[in-house]
Symmetry: C2
Subunit: 341 residues, 2 copies
Amino acid sequence: MDRAVEPAATAPLGLDDVRAAARRLHGVVCRTPLLSSAPLDARLGHELVFKPEGLQHTGAFKVRGAYNTLAWMAERGALPQQVISFSSGNHAQAVAWAARRFGVRAVVYMPEGVAEVKRRATEAWGAEVRLRPQRAQAEAEAQQAAAAPGCALLPPYDHPQVVCGQGTATLEALEDGGVEERGPDAVRPLYDAVFVPVGGGGLMSGTTLVAKSLDARTAVVGGEPAAADDAARTLESGTLFRWEQPPSTLADGARTLSLSPLTWSILRTADGIRRVDESDLLRWTRTLQESLKVLVEPTSALAAAAAEQWLAEQDGPRRVLLVLSGANLDADTMRAIWAAR
Amino acid sequence: MDRAVEPAATAPLGLDDVRAAARRLHGVVCRTPLLSSAPLDARLGHELVFKPEGLQHTGAFKVRGAYNTLAWMAERGALPQQVISFSSGNHAQAVAWAARRFGVRAVVYMPEGVAEVKRRATEAWGAEVRLRPQRAQAEAEAQQAAAAPGCALLPPYDHPQVVCGQGTATLEALEDGGVEERGPDAVRPLYDAVFVPVGGGGLMSGTTLVAKSLDARTAVVGGEPAAADDAARTLESGTLFRWEQPPSTLADGARTLSLSPLTWSILRTADGIRRVDESDLLRWTRTLQESLKVLVEPTSALAAAAAEQWLAEQDGPRRVLLVLSGANLDADTMRAIWAAR
């Protein structure tokens, strides 16, 4: 299989593409609220605003990209009879959920060992799940299957319309925070920085398009498990780093093998990726649940841990946005999070 | 101490009083979103809409009543220098939170054995906590202390303005569901029933005022621990039932000793109280957390367990509203909830 090993040429995507995605998603996805915690802000000495996409349909932001892509295909009269995908979990549910809305069959290849709650939910939304021993194998078989007539691939992040869909989470947060009333000439940006978890880079790419377009002074920073730092390595070295095997981390949404050329090209315009230890992941997952009163999966804690690192380097109070990716946790993970007294 | 043993005469409170409370609370409390779960609805065969007051400031609906009462006092030029209260937890935090907003000192008497997370949070909002061995003692001392010059009592439920404040949660839910666009002549009410947990009856009283005024066909049903069924006994017998000792139940918000004359008088116009076993409490707390992706404390599960009982008696699909009271849980309780595989 051919594989590009360079970032894509200038990304042709911009704010207008994300706005078009937002129009497609209007009334379909939840406009999730913004949350904050006065005690947490007091403790950190900064103002943190959270976009809890765990409250989104299927419990994760992923429906934004999946639905937008199918809607975009439908606009072009190119809706397939069967949509094929591969995923470690949240994207699988999103594809199943979106495909049902378009009356399209969904087949999702998943690696064995995905969170049980995510596999079951994917089936509950009506998709056929095909388990494969290896993630790379699941990915390769999905791409083969998608080549059949009447089929189309809906990849978890390597698609412009997936990226634009994911960007709508940050667009909503900026709109609801009043970015348009402030205008680009405000003394300070609405948020000094936006933090997101990084797996394949779809959420961070969409976030970068939106945040940088609306105010170039806004830093966009990703959080990635130190044990799964393919994106950080790629950006630092300028060479696409790809794992042979999915790395082991509590953040199951970050067990992706590599960035794609598309997400790589966009992330080069962002403000870097912070490495997060597993102990910080666990600590922040608990802290977020306690402070915000919402379920939060460990992948989401990557944003908070990255923010903690970044904020510690600033010379004064900052106001920042954190996109929390999802809330699909197994009971085992919940017990691990709440084990400490 | 004199104690009325009859329900209050015709309650002088109505929808306009709750609307006045809503105006005082506008921009101060969170307008919490409405949540639902398609998988849960599919499983139950009914449409359930949730008002998750765990996302409210201090993690519970109680700030509505506490802030409204202080605002009402302030309007009358009767804001005390020191506000005194007693509580098993969530009201304590609410008093502390509201008092801080009015620049008023707060002293809260709590029984020993309150949830640690609730005691610490009360202190964090700036209140002085005085622990007393018994709940009845905490209550009596608070009433004594409040008699001093410059002091005023802000009781957890036995105050008209507390009741009206609590009613704003349901008012918001009905407004956001479009009750005004439908009007009172709609073929069916917006919600066939509204379910709430019952401790001292403040939330259920406010809910009854609102729901019955906007559409008398809406059933208002409470859920109370079977092990702490003072409200159910009072309504069934027509005699105020009062515990000597706080009953033992996982639902710490329902460890109240009795209804008050005020809440008793209003609850007589509602549609009864369902008794909930401790095992159902535990099961529903977990189910709500899994389905809605928000933290939910066991007291909130009383509403869901009551709804389950009521829905099982209906002859067809119903659309119902459940007010989830709060999300302040100790780590021990979280572990108990998630212990089962």
